[in-house]
């Protein structure tokens, strides 16, 4: 979306104004990330001192000391591993479970399908906070507290992911599956060898959205974990902030290391992600 029409000076002015506007928007969104990265490289006393002005975005006396401090003060590797295991399992399990569910809703005929799909859609509007307490009670009954399982199992099946897969599969030509059936493929061959390879955009979309959603998950891990053994990064960073002495440079360095995987995932899957959002019928 950009201005069209006009000619000469007016055209040039329109484009300049448009690019200034978009650049300003980009700057507003990028500023916190730049502040965090730059601040993580500064000596601790300069972080707050320069926070109020443009110097906050200019690295001076840059060093990796803050990163070194983080590793010295807490077991960052353990927290990172915890987050990676939990989110990795949720994303990987979710891709299998939700894609199969979306496919079943989109393509297969079975009794109660429409009612169940309506129920799944209804789940989209229920905020997690509303079910957190009963869910906490339930997992306590199972004896799952302070484990990886309690942080993975409730989130593998996801209504929004199912919906994304459903809309994508609905738009795929049915003849592809029929051709595979005629060629002798059974259900799983058809799904994994024909459908999945042609659904990379939606798989990328769900991967990114799930990753972002659970990489930053805070409330549930805080409720169900009671020690560092299985605690993920978001809870760890909150605890790190309360750990004396309060050092903002260290906190920002912790934040950079926590956000970096999310940025990398997005950059890696970006091309598929954008295509997936469009082809899933959800205008981005």
């Amino acid at each position: 979306m950009r201005p069209v029409g006009g000619s000469g000076l007016l055209h040039w002015a329109k484009y300049t104004a448009w690019y200034l506007f978009t650049a300003s928007c980009a700057a507003v969104f990028a500023a916190p990330v730049v502040f965090m990265v730059v601040g993580s490289l500064k000596p601790d006393d300069r972080v707050l001192a320069e926070a109020g002005g443009w110097r906050a975005f200019v690295p001076g006396h840059a060093s990796l000391q803050n990163y070194h401090d983080v590793f010295a003060r807490v077991d960052f590797g353990l927290f990172f591993l915890n987050s990676a295991v939990i989110v990795g399992a949720i994303v990987a399990g979710g891709l299998v479970v939700n894609s199969l569910a979306g496919y079943a809703f989109a393509r297969m005929r079975w009794r109660g399908r429409d009612a169940l799909f309506a129920a799944v859609l209804a789940l989209l509007i229920i905020p997690f906070e509303a079910i957190a307490v009963p869910l906490f009670y339930e997992v306590s009954l199972f004896g799952w507290r302070n484990t990886y399982v309690v942080q993975i199992a409730p989130f593998v099946a996801n209504a929004f992911s199912i919906y994304l897969f459903y809309t994508f599969f609905l738009g795929m030509p049915r003849e592809l599956e029929e051709a595979a059936r005629m060629d002798g493929a059974g259900f799983f061959h058809t799904f994994f060898r024909i459908i999945v390879p042609n659904a990379r955009p939606v798989f990328a979309t769900v991967t990114i959205l799930s990753f972002l959603m659970f990489w930053g998950s805070y409330l549930w891990p805080l409720l169900v974990t009671s020690g560092p053994a299985v605690r993920p990064l978001p809870v760890a960073v909150a605890e790190f902030k309360t750990l004396p002495p309060l050092k903002w440079g260290d906190i920002l360095a912790f934040g950079v290391m926590m956000v970096a995987p999310a940025l990398l995932i997005f950059v890696f899957f970006q091309r598929w992600f954008i295509r997936g959002v469009v082809s899933s019928g959800i205008k981005g």
Binding site: E175, E178, R181, M182, D183, G184, H189, R193, I194, P197
Partner: protein, 377 residues
């Protein structure tokens, strides 16, 4: 190879819609049967029922002497080419052709032999490493055929395989399909809405309308002896000129057909048993070639018509005119006559057309069926 037999096949959807009603016919071993009809007539549904992609709600489908109603598609030994080819976009041409062989778990050597044989048969060797998006429409069509043929199926189904191609390519691929079928001797069921395609390809043609089988026969049979007004109007381009009229025998035994102010004497032997005096209401059908421009020495009855337009096709001229009928609805549908290209006919003037009364077909106005006893005593 195998014969396919449809026994009183019916398909009714859950909402009560009857898609196919009591269709019975046999496709002989090695025969190319073409199913033709207007959009929504059920021809593709019939193909899908044979393939097993949809379940019949009545009757039996027999392939090679075995009832296959309850068998899934992969166990029917039937291959199908889809209208949009349905090539797997993420696989190369080689991958597409090999896919059914992998599903069959053929030994690698045998699979390679079949792949090479089929690729050679369809001229696909140079394209084996290309992906479908890199191919033209005709090449995709050939890959789809190869993928179906490589399994060596007992029956080969084609669902409007040429409808996405331009006219020139359609003609070429049509010839290729025919040649392929003759070489392989595979039993084929071919669906199209294009009656020219149907007539040129099929050993026999099955005409469907509203899910009901109208007639099965050779192209010549359908053209010359349609069983009802639907087949008469659908088969042939331009279509048959159909009109309500009466026939009446005079006291000298001559049978006349009313065409507006003309009383056209009919050539023997229409209705030898029809008594003198009785006027019998009928629907009459005249192929465009049964009406020809008078070139001076025409024999037989002649009618005068006002020419509306002329289509010069080079080898012939099609004369479009309003029928010489009076009253009723019949005279609003233009008729067509075929004339020699050298005939000078101008729109907006009258011209004389000779009626070949030996080639008039009569239908019952009550149900549109051809009147069976019009030729026999």
């Amino acid at each position: 190879m195998a014969a396919v037999e449809l026994r009183h096949v019916e398909k009714r959807y859950a909402n009560g819609t009857l898609a196919i009603g009591d269709v019975s016919l046999t496709i002989d071993d090695g025969e190319l049967m073409v199913f033709v009809g207007p959009s929504g007539c059920g021809k593709s549904t019939l193909l899908r029922l044979m393939a097993g992609l949809e379940a019949v709600t009545g009757g039996e489908i027999v392939v090679g002497g075995r009832v296959v109603n309850d068998l899934p598609p992969q166990q029917r030994n039937i291959a199908m080419v889809f209208q949009n080819y349905a090539l797997y976009p993420h696989m190369t041409v080689r991958g597409n052709i090999e896919f059914p062989l992998r599903m069959m778990k053929l030994p690698r050597e045998e699979a390679r032999r079949r792949l090479q044989h089929t690729a050679a048969l369809l001229g696909l060797e140079p394209l084996l490493d290309a992906r479908p998006r890199q191919l033209s429409g005709g090449q995709r069509q050939r890959v789809a055929m190869a993928r179906a043929l490589v399994r060596d199926p007992a029956v080969f189904l084609l669902d409007e395989p040429l409808s996405n191609l331009d006219a020139k390519l359609r003609g070429e691929i049509r010839a290729e399909i025919l040649s392929l079928q003759r070489r392989t001797g595979t039993t084929m069921a071919y669906v199209t809405h294009d009656q020219v395609e149907a007539m040129t390809l099929g050993d026999r043609v099955a005409v469907l309308n509203g899910g009901v089988l109208q007639q099965v026969g050779t192209a010549q049979t359908l053209y010359a002896a349609p069983v009802n007004t639907f087949v008469a109007g659908f088969i042939g381009s331009p279509p048959m000129n159909l009109f309500h009229t009466t026939v009446q025998r005079d006291t000298h035994g001559v049978l006349y057909m009313a065409m507006g102010r003309h009383q056209v004497p009919m050539a023997a032997p229409h209705w030898p048993r029809l008594a003198a005096g009785a006027a019998v209401p009928v629907i009459a059908g005249l192929r465009p070639e049964a009406l020809s421009c008078v070139d001076g020495d025409s024999r037989g009855p002649v009618i005068e018509v006002m020419v509306r337009s002329v289509e010069n096709l080079g080898h012939e001229k099609l004369i479009i005119f309003l029928p010489p009928l009076e009253g009723g609805l019949d005279n609003t549908t233009p008729w067509t006559a075929r004339c020699q290209p050298r005939v000078q006919v101008v729109p907006g003037v009258h011209t004389s057309l000779a009626v070949d009364t030996a080639n008039v077909i009569f239908f019952d106005p009550a149900d549109g069926r051809a009147l069976a006893d019009q030729w026999t005593s």
